[in-house]
Amino acid sequence: MGLLSEGSPLDWEETKKYADHVRKHGVKQFINLYHKLKNRPCDVLKWGDEVEYMLVKIDSSQKQATLMLNAPELLPLLQREEIENPSENPTAWRPEYGNYMIEGTPGKPYGGLFAHFNVVEANMRLRREQLEKLLNRSSGETCLSITSFPRLGCPGFSIPRLEPDPSEASVTKSLFFPDGAIFGSHPRFKTLTRNIRSRRGEKVSINIPVFKDKNTQTPFVEKFPNDHDGEGASASKQDHIYMDAMGFGMGSSCLQVTFQACNIDEAKFLYDQLTPMCPILLALSASAPIYRGLLSDIDCRWYVISSSVDCRTKEERGEEPLKNDRFRIPKSRYDSVDSYLSPDNAKFNDTHLVMDEQLCQEMIDGGVDTSLARHVAHLFIRDPVSLFSEKIEQDDENDSDHFENIQSTNWQSMRFKPPPVNSDIGWRVEFRPMEVQLTDFENAAFVVFLVLLTRAILTFKLNFVIPISKVDANMQESHKRDAVRKGKFHFRKELHSKSSNPEDVTAEMDINTIINGGKTEAGTDFPGLIPLVNSYIATLDDADVDTTCTISQYFKLLSDRAAGRLKTTARWMRDFVDSHPSYRHDSVISEEVNYDLIKTIANITKGNMDGAQGLLHTTVSKSVDEIPESLQGTGGVSINGSM
């Protein structure tokens, strides 16, 4: 959701004028923050998940499934509890990019007790119930947690129906995505959209390879009747699905987890350890094969979003020689991380890190350690793309808006989050790559697995760090169709060695070996992430029967998905489309196919397992709303505050 300042947003020309000001003060704010907070005494484990929902109307008389654009009306109703009873509210709600999207989180973070893992799914269920209560069930209104709405950007995809406006008058200038689908109650999202496009000097250009089915038009070329200035024709690539708006990326949903580390060093340690996990969990959670009504050749949303907010100019992208811009920048501001944070892992930063050298030196001179200074200096090569006039002048000792401005518009696979000034929140790490799943059971499974993995890593002092270049290669691999079953990933083969030669730490493994254990391509044995986590749980003398039962079901799901015994959501969607009687095997998702797919998804979300063949065994676990009384006093700390 990002920084939601109040006030009046500047246009791009004005924002650009203040870019250096924001950067300069942002870094000063960071240096101050760093010194104030680097010695925070040990914090407890607190963590939370974020699930993004889409508001959908399933019209059985018209056989149409559309996105409802009424998030602005629903949000205040959902947020009432939080406003009236702060710190008592079990759920919290935030706006997201689309007028059809709402983000839900737990009202209070979960804590470090094992029994907390049994509460996650129930909380997710509660969020869904609260949202559903505001919808008109009988007219087919519902909310779904799907990564990408299949016909987003197709004519009539929304209700009310809106026409896209490709003229300069609109914010997106998109051939497909109407301005009215962008969240309207807060200026941030439209401001970002317009400024990213203005900075870039042209529309964002997303080209995703189309899936070549039996009857797919070959070569695959689309004509865009409303492409009056020909920008679409020149930006679109043959055999690709062309999209031209931020909404196609930021208007998709994901599943994120944030957790508080005990101090800055542990935060850096966990950031580093989870970085190589990003492509693995992206591949395992893959659930986005369809874009703009067309079946694509990728299973995940990551590079769609990456391109959708790519504010780099031609010069920065290397298409023209550098004249007005300072740097050649290899990646979009939304992409995977480029460096590790612990000084111990500096030798694994084997890619060229584009940095603002001056700001980097300023931080080092200001007492920030080199790895962290380089990380921030890399984030700060970007211009602010949203700036509010009221926030320009700041007190660098006590404000952190300029820092947060740049920090929150670098959308990376991991985010290292310093504590806000004057709060009791500690150093946090955010894990951002996972695709959201259809059911609360699945989302809880992924989230619980991730947090338990961090506990196992800390307990057994494991080391998963591999060269950054190999993590980048893995990210590419994770997008491929059926990467879970067919992909080969670089992964650390020897988990207990502290420092080693970056040259020989990895072996290639498939997802099954990584998750379940087995032999690597190098012939070595790899224990498997699930067996490692199970080993941690077995060592805990705190594991209660219900939580253990729930977790065993979550791990069965993840284990089966990794081994190919169950399909990823992406594969399930592909098979659904493929076997639909009116699908013409031309990669086109018609209104009818879309309707049936969305309807089936809605049923599965409600626990109706017809049509969930191969996707799920069950969505029933022992998850409960509250930790049982007998387990409460066992040493957990009462939870306060938000993340």
Binding site: L45, R455, L458, D525, L540, D542, T548
Partner: protein, 272 residues
């Protein structure tokens, strides 16, 4: 002809030290399939390491032997305050003699360099004292000892293992210090009998899970270990008296910092 190397020994204690970082189990790439296997690995590692430098001329007269690995000292450090840690000890008793359990617990307090155990879980063998059959009286005898330790402030809470509702209820009603925990095998975590579930909820007894076999270290397994490390003759007659497993958990962070086993084995030299 094979000569026994420890012919006088009738009591043997092996301390695994802190094995949580896998440091001492580096050679093992596979995760142990069961706690029995894990325990055997730990014991083997200790014996292999200690027996390299052992002076047999001294050892062969000893009646009581103790082996520890110096590198993996499990003593609680001051990285965390004592309140932040939860120390759990599971005492798997094959010997139901009150003095024996007192000795066992004193050893683990010393091993961890602490005065208090937060949770003590008692598990009694199906065949206590080798020849007897388990009876609630065995459990109660040991429980009374533990209650005295609770009174003295050496243990905070007591728990029991693998009891079904009738036995748990009998213990609960009889005991002065009530059991707060019943730790059951994880294979049953999804199918807890409704009567046990209801009773535990009512009495606020936590139902926790473990992955231990009912006999974590059967005599044959221990004797096998002795054969490999010492000799066939030295392996004769040993049986497990008790196995203690301890863990230290940083409560609010879910990170385990210590885990280890102490095992005592005994034999009656007259019976060999």
């Amino acid at each position: 002809m094979e000569v026994p190397r420890i012919p006088q020994a009738s009591s043997l204690i092996i301390n695994s030290g802190n094995v949580i970082n896998f440091e001492c189990l580096k050679k093992r790439k596979r995760i142990a399939q069961s706690t029995t296997e894990e325990l055997k690995d730990c014991l083997k590692t200790v014996l292999d390491s200690r027996l390299k430098t052992i002076n047999w001329d001294e050892e062969k007269f000893k009646t009581s032997l103790e082996f520890t690995v110096p590198c993996c000292n499990p003593a609680l450090s001051d990285e965390q305050t004592r309140e932040d840690l939860k120390v759990t000890v599971k005492a798997m008793m094959c010997n139901a003699d009150p003095e024996v359990i007192v000795d066992a617990i004193h050893r683990v307090l010393k091993e961890l360099d602490t005065d208090i155990i937060d949770v003590l879980l008692l598990s009694v063998s199906e065949k206590p004292n080798v020849i007897e059959t388990f009876h609630m009286d065995h459990l109660k005898t040991l429980w009374s000892v533990l209650e005295r330790m609770v009174d003295k402030g050496q243990i905070k809470t007591l728990g029991v293992c693998d009891l079904e509702k009738p036995a748990l209820e009998e213990l609960y009603n009889w005991a002065k210090v009530k059991p707060s925990i019943d730790q059951v095998n994880e294979v049953s975590c999804c199918i807890i009998p409704p009567d046990l579930n209801a009773f535990s909820k009512e009495k606020k007894i936590q139902l926790l899970t473990h992955g231990d076999a009912l006999e974590i270290l059967p005599a044959e397994d221990f004797q096998e270990l002795m054969k490999e490390s010492f000799s066939d003759l030295d392996a004769q007659g040993w049986h497990t008296s008790w196995v203690l497993r301890y863990t230290a958990l940083i409560r609010c962070r879910g990170v385990i910092t210590r885990k280890g086993y102490t095992v005592r084995a005994q034999r009656n030299l007259n019976n060999i």
